[in-house]
């Protein structure tokens, strides 16, 4: 509750929060099928219909309602983004904590492995994984999760190393606290802030990567909709039916703006040096 109030007190947090909330609502409606029209239904007579009061964002080449497909696509893209970021955050946290806690060889091997993963551009690595495992929603979730795991590993390892050397951890050792207690209460609890910020920002990247994969035909498979796929379908109709490109394109742009604004706000809020300036 206090967190929510802080987000809304922050100028960019307010905008970002509203955008993200709106998208979440659209995604849920899209996933539940509560759309203006059936997103898969082909209204053959109304093919490439321009936006009007019936079809708010027009129809596509097969006469499907773009507004409904957009909602379905947002639902699809968000599902992929949320699951992949959740897996990446989980894996990254475990690996980062392990690297920091065991140190020495573990740290060296794990972090070099992460460096190798980070050396590839995100989309290229995701493409490689999908190309090997075959296209589809599940594989794109796995691919995006693998791509963003190294970032979480780094975000966790750094602060975990410094926390490990703090006196309260030494104090815990002097009264014989177990490693699992120290890891959860003393390390993880203090990592909540950087993790929250990173998760928010990673959601934006994951959305973009998912759009990219779908655009290339390796993510969501037709007839289901996703933002990237819709954009890809609009390529040849750019001049005859510009709405096919404009709406999904703008939808991607605004969603990323929203997550980035929210992420920036969270970073400010968690940074104690900034706390006074906002309050």
């Amino acid at each position: 509750m206090r967190m929510l109030r802080a987000v809304f007190a922050h100028p960019s947090g307010r905008i970002g929060g509203v955008i993200v909330a709106l998208y979440l609502l659209l995604a849920v409606l899209g996933l539940l099928g509560l759309t203006p029209h059936n997103p898969l239904m082909q209204y053959r007579i109304d093919r490439l219909h321009a936006p009007d009061s019936t079809y708010w964002m027009g129809t596509d080449l097969f006469g499907r309602d773009v507004a409904s497909r957009l909602m379905m696509g947002i639902g699809q893209s968000f599902t992929v983004a949320f699951f992949s970021v959740a897996f990446a955050a989980l894996a990254g946290t475990v690996l980062g904590l392990a690297a920091a806690w065991f140190g020495r060889r573990w740290d060296g091997v794990l972090m070099r492995l992460m460096d190798v993963l980070l050396a590839f551009p995100a989309i290229l690595l995701a493409l490689l994984i999908v190309a090997v495992a075959g296209p589809g929603t599940r594989t794109s979730i796995v691919a995006i999760a693998i791509v963003y795991t190294p970032i979480f590993t780094r975000v966790v390892r750094g602060p975990a190393l410094s926390l490990k050397a703090r006196e309260f951890v030494d104090a815990a050792r002097t009264f014989g606290s177990s490693s699992s207690y120290i890891l959860t209460r003393h390390l993880l609890l203090n990592l909540v802030a950087p993790l929250t910020v990173q998760i928010t920002l990673a959601l934006a990247w994951a959305l973009l990567t998912e759009a990219g994969l779908s655009f290339l035909g390796l993510g969501t498979q037709p007839p289901a909709a996703s933002l990237g796929l819709m954009l890809s379908d609009s390529r040849n109709l750019m001049e005859t039916a510009p709405w096919l490109m404009i709406f999904p394109g703008v939808a991607i742009m605004i969603s990323i703006l929203g997550f980035n604004l929210l992420g920036d706000a969270l970073r400010d809020i968690f940074d104690p040096r900034m706390r006074r300036a906002i309050a």
Binding site: E167, D170, A171, A172, R173, F175, L189, N190
Partner: protein, 582 residues
């Protein structure tokens, strides 16, 4: 005669509404040519802000001068009000007419530039010197602060020099343009006592040579006795008392000055040691902690394959025993191995060799006990900021397999009350407490497991002087009540004198002198102990001349397999042994 500096009715505020948020209120003082003024106060008293207002550095920290005047007599005889001076004017004055040295020499210098470059900068800016001329001037500046081999040291980067050396470099930089006023903001607080004595001696000598005036800011009233002409005592942003050195020290008028002089620990050469708990009667009982030939070494690896080529002998054959209800203080300077000894006793660092045994005391039914507990130096770092006090106090109990039941809660409440914290503390978080309160919390946490020995590693060093005094009192009370044995690690002789029954002086990883506190402090026998005690500032030592001693602590790195020869001890009195110097 116009004074060099005249500050009248100075007020400084911070934040968006500086008037409502004043941290310095109506401070006035005058400083004549060649005079030294010491500003004494605890943290938050506004002493640093007052000093920073003089060269207007306070503006960069978000402060605003809200009232009063600061009149500086310029070199040409004119008088300038610094509160109204423009930034370009101030830039010319800073460094050239007002020099400044800060508390942390390690962070006041840029780590990637050589010290030569950094000293030369001052000459370039204010005197227009360039190239070889500037280098020559920088070498002279280093010579002036008695840095041996100055020409070669110019090429060093800050990490290659010790803290004391760096503070000399800072002084050299500040004095580069012969300022007529030097502001020293706690210049020795981060340094060891013997180094502090050297720096103080150097400042006194330089003052004599150049005839400059000085403003010396400190929390330690004992330190200024050797150097100040006048003292101003500050509390809560106001100058509560000012006057001549002797007048303030001998006839303090304000209650706060009296408190600083009387209640706060000052070193008294063994006259203020504790009179309770003498050792003689307890020699036949089992010691609470016995340490035998403790050795801690860290391997030094070098070369491509990282082979061990030597070892740092951090602790080298330390033995002592500690009786129940007794305090043994381990004193030494940084790097002497005192903290490593404490950490080895608790198993936080692995000892290479040696044994220790601690007697476990019987716990009440259903309660767990660990024989040794520890209180750390920094009360801000030793409590997890994200846990409530209840979780923090419960942790030792959970760690030893106990349950948090009614008995545990009752114990928490009793201990909190005993260490002087409010009863509603349990559901609060560490950041809601002050430094002194947090250290009380740490003490309460250490007592949760009914230890027989508590290791206090610089436990009061991070606290303000008057808070220090109260925490020491609490520790003594708790020791009497629970029969605790304390292993008190400290560099501060004044504090040690108040709490120790016995003292072990540790130097380069070895105990060089151990014995009854009074005997060690009043009649030190080992050369190092003598040097250490001579360096402790006291209010009795006014304007005493220190010898400038630039000897460094020997390297603790030894070749592989090196073993020090067996220690030979000389006995003085019933309980006072000294290691025979090689």
């Amino acid at each position: 005669m116009i004074p060099l500096l005249s500050v009248s009715d100075l007020s400084v505020g911070f934040g968006r509404t500086p008037q409502a948020n004043e941290v310095v209120r109506g401070v006035s003082f005058e400083l004549a040519d060649g005079e030294t003024l010491a500003i004494v106060g605890e943290s938050g008293s506004g002493k640093s802000v007052t000093a920073l207002s003089i060269n207007r550095l306070v503006d960069f920290g978000g402060g605003r001068i809200t009232g009063g005047a600061i009149k500086l007599k310029r070199a040409d005889g004119g008088v300038l009000d610094l509160t109204a001076a423009s930034e370009p004017q101030l830039t010319r004055i800073r460094g050239a007419e007002i020099g400044m040295i800060f508390q942390e020499p390690m962070t006041s210098l840029n780590p990637v530039l050589t010290i030569g470059t950094q000293i030369e900068e001052s000459f370039r800016l204010h005197r227009g010197l360039t190239g070889r001329q500037a280098t020559a001037a920088a070498k002279d500046a280093l010579d002036r602060v008695r840095i041996p081999d100055a020409a070669r040291r110019l090429k060093y980067t800050p990490n290659q020099l010790s803290g004391g050396m760096l503070q000399r470099v800072m002084i050299a930089t500040a004095l580069a343009c012969n300022p007529r006023l030097l502001i020293a903001d706690e210049p020795t607080t981060a340094l060891d006592v013997t180094v502090q004595a050297q720096i103080m001696a150097l400042l006194a000598e330089l003052k004599r040579e150049t005839g400059m005036s000085m403003i010396f800011i400190t929390h330690d009233i004992g330190l200024v006795a050797g150097i100040a002409d006048k003292i101003m005592v500050m509390q809560n942003g106001e100058g509560v008392e000012q006057g001549e050195l002797n007048q303030i020290l001998d006839q303090p008028q304000h209650p706060y000055t009296q408190h600083l002089l009387q209640d706060v620990p000052h070193f008294a050469s063994g006259r203020a040691t504790r009179s309770d708990g003498r050792r003689d009667k307890a020699t036949d009982t089992e010691p609470a902690l016995k340490v035998n030939d403790l050795v801690v070494r860290f391997p030094v690896k070098s070369g491509f394959f990282g082979r061990a080529t030597g070892a740092v002998h951090a602790v080298d054959g330390v033995d002592f025993d500690l009786m129940q209800g007794e305090t043994l203080a381990i004193v030494g300077e940084s790097g002497s191995g005192k903290s490593t000894t404490a950490r080895a006793v608790l198993g936080l660092v692995r000892s290479t060799r040696g044994s220790f045994s601690a007697s476990v005391r019987k716990a009440a039914a259903g309660q767990s006990a660990l024989p040794i507990q520890m209180v750390f130096q920094n009360p801000y770092a030793s409590l997890n900021p994200r846990l409530t006090i209840e979780s923090i106090l419960a942790e030792p109990v959970i760690a030893t397999g106990g349950r948090v039941d009614a008995a545990t809660r009752a114990k928490m409440a009793t201990l909190l009350k005993r260490v002087g914290l409010p009863e509603n503390s349990l559901e609060r978080y560490p950041h809601q407490f002050s430094g002194g309160q947090r250290q009380r919390l740490c003490i309460a946490r250490a007592l949760m497991l009914n230890p027989s020995v508590v290791v206090l590693d610089e436990a009061v060093s991070a606290l303000d002087v008057s808070v220090q005094a109260r925490v020491l009192e609490l520790l003594v009370d708790l020791q009497r009540e629970f029969g605790l044995a304390y292993l008190f690690i400290s560099h501060d002789m004044a504090v040690v004198e108040r709490i120790a029954h016995r003292i072990a002086v540790i130097y380069a990883g070895q105990i060089v002198e151990i014995g009854d506190a009074k005997s060690v402090l009043s009649a030190p026998k080992h050369a190092y102990t003598k040097k250490l005690i001579a360096a402790v500032p006291t209010i009795d030592r006014r304007r005493e001349h220190f010898e400038v001693d630039t000897r460094q602590v020997p390297s603790l790195v030894r070749p592989l397999g090196f073993e020090p020869g067996p220690a030979r001890w000389e006995q003085f009195g019933a309980d006072h042994r000294v290691r025979v110097e090689a």
